[in-house]
């Protein structure tokens, strides 16, 4: 329980620090999958560790111990987690779960809104053109999703660039990129440290759609020009959108498209997977330690109770009324209730 319970926190910090730096170097599709899987596992590890730490504090409350029939003294003697650490963990856990609930409700609301809006848009075609002179283009997820483009945007692009724009938005819809976004927003709500991962994820999805469009058109430079022209036209528009901009994203995308396609390298992804495996393993180890601790404390409580009632402590192993002292063996033992 000592170190292993903190390993998932370390893994979270490592992921949050490395992901934004490394994600741009890989082919965007595997990168997006790795980021989504990584942040899900990390968020679960985060919750698990907090829960274990909070539980060790909870186990020291006499009322709880009486209910669970374990010895508070034994738990205190066994467990090196300070009560303050447990209390902080409990508060953080509560905050994480609240954040998750709020964020999940918001995500559901937004996705339902998008779905309704998809149905409300004129026509039943894949493309809905807005009669709006300012340049806008986006994919609206729904059943089926729609590509929404203003005529202002269409007019600032050339023929091939127009196709690039459509292919880009189509890629978002086909690969269900909104689900990736949802996963990242939920994990960032659970653990604010994962916010940079969510931001990087958004960028990687744009790159993914860019690469898809480039493959579709067979011309990377056309896609680069489409992205660049659209961005410049949006910047020139009199009313600038006041959205949370991911600064510098567009030039990075254009530069990536003007360069040869990113290589598919497996090694860093394998390293990431190993890191997550470490996180899971130490969480399992911490959980198993915690279980042993409780088993041990239950044994102590049982033995004490028997001694108090005058019954001799049972020496023969196997059929003792209190079972084995569980500290005798380590690893995932058969001690489950």
């Amino acid at each position: 329980m000592t170190v292993s319970v903190y390993v998932p926190f370390v893994v979270t910090v490592v992921l949050a620090a490395l992901a934004p730096r490394l994600a741009g170097r890989f082919a965007p599709r595997p990168a997006a999958w790795a980021l989504a899987g990584g942040s899900l596992v990390t968020a679960l590890g985060w919750l698990g560790s907090l829960a274990l730490l909070a539980f060790t504090g909870l186990a020291q409350i006499p009322e709880v111990a009486r209910e669970g029939r374990w010895s508070v003294t034994a738990v205190r003697a066994d467990d090196p987690v300070y009560l303050t650490v447990s209390a902080i963990a409990a508060v953080t856990l509560l905050a994480s779960l609240t954040g998750l609930a709020v964020s999940a409700a918001r995500q559901v609301r937004h996705l339902l809104w998008a779905r309704r809006e998809c149905a409300r848009l004129p026509g039943d075609l894949e493309l809905a053109v807005l009669d709006d002179a300012s340049p806008h283009a986006f994919a609206l997820p729904g059943a089926p999703g729609r590509i929404v483009v203003s005529h202002g945007m269409l007019r600032c692009l050339g023929d091939a660039e127009r196709e690039a724009l459509l292919a880009h938005e189509r890629a978002h819809l086909r690969a269900r990129h909104h689900l990736f976004q949802t996963a990242w927003r939920l994990t960032a709500a659970v653990c604010p440290l994962l916010r940079p991962v969510a931001e990087t994820g958004g960028f990687v999805l744009e790159r993914w759609a860019d690469e898809e469009a480039a493959a579709r058109l067979g011309d990377r430079r056309v896609v680069a020009r489409a992205v660049g022209r659209a961005a410049l036209a949006s910047a020139k528009a009199p009313e600038r959108a006041t959205l949370a901009a991911t600064g510098g994203a567009v030039p990075q995308r254009v530069r990536a498209l003007l360069a040869p396609p990113p290589p598919r390298r497996a090694l860093p992804l394998v390293a990431g997977a190993a890191l997550l495996a470490v996180s899971c393993a130490s969480l399992a180890e911490a959980a198993s330690d915690s279980e042993h601790m409780i088993d041990g404390a239950q044994f102590v409580a049982c033995v004490t109770a028997l001694r108090d009632t005058g019954t001799p402590v049972p020496p023969p192993p196997g059929h003792a009324p209190c079972g084995h002292p569980p500290r005798d063996h380590h690893g995932p033992g058969p001690h489950r209730h």
């Binding site: 809104w113 998008a114 075609l125 283009a137 986006f138 127009r162 680069a224 567009v250």
Partner: protein
């Protein structure tokens, strides 16, 4: 992802391809400054689409009331139906310009540029186009 390849049922990919062509035609008409003939639409679409294919798509879009058609000489000219979308356009415009957390579900084509990004972008595009990018329409 590569939907046109084998592995997909022919019907699905056929329907998808048709949907994509419809989007391309509609986008081409909206991008134009005036009504277009079928021949002009064909010229603005990538690949070598057959003239008859373009005609078929145009008439299908016309049937769906997405396009208006006028006689011009021996053929027709086509233009997108404009007023129908205005209510939606207004709603979306408000949403996008005012900024709302609903925006989170939209995956926008481009994000905002900083002043430096703008300069950088001109340089990137300029270098690779061989002509300044800002001369675009």
């Amino acid at each position: 992802m590569r939907d046109r390849k084998i592995g997909e049922s022919g019907e699905t990919s056929g329907r998808r391809a048709r949907g994509e062509l419809e989007s391309g035609v509609l986008a081409a008409l909206w991008a134009a400054s005036g009504p277009l003939t079928a021949r002009q639409v064909q010229e603005r679409l990538p690949g070598d689409l057959a003239y008859t294919t373009v005609l078929t798509i145009l008439s299908r879009l016309h049937d769906k009331n997405t396009l208006v058609r006028h006689r011009a000489g021996r053929g027709h000219v086509y233009a997108p139906v404009r007023d129908e979308a205005s209510d939606t356009a207004q709603r979306m415009h408000t949403l996008l310009e005012r900024g709302s957390d609903r925006e989170a579900v939209l995956t926008r084509f481009v994000s905002e540029l900083s002043e430096q990004d703008e300069q950088l972008l001109y340089r990137l595009l300029g270098e690779h186009d061989g002509h300044p990018a800002d001369e675009g329409p």
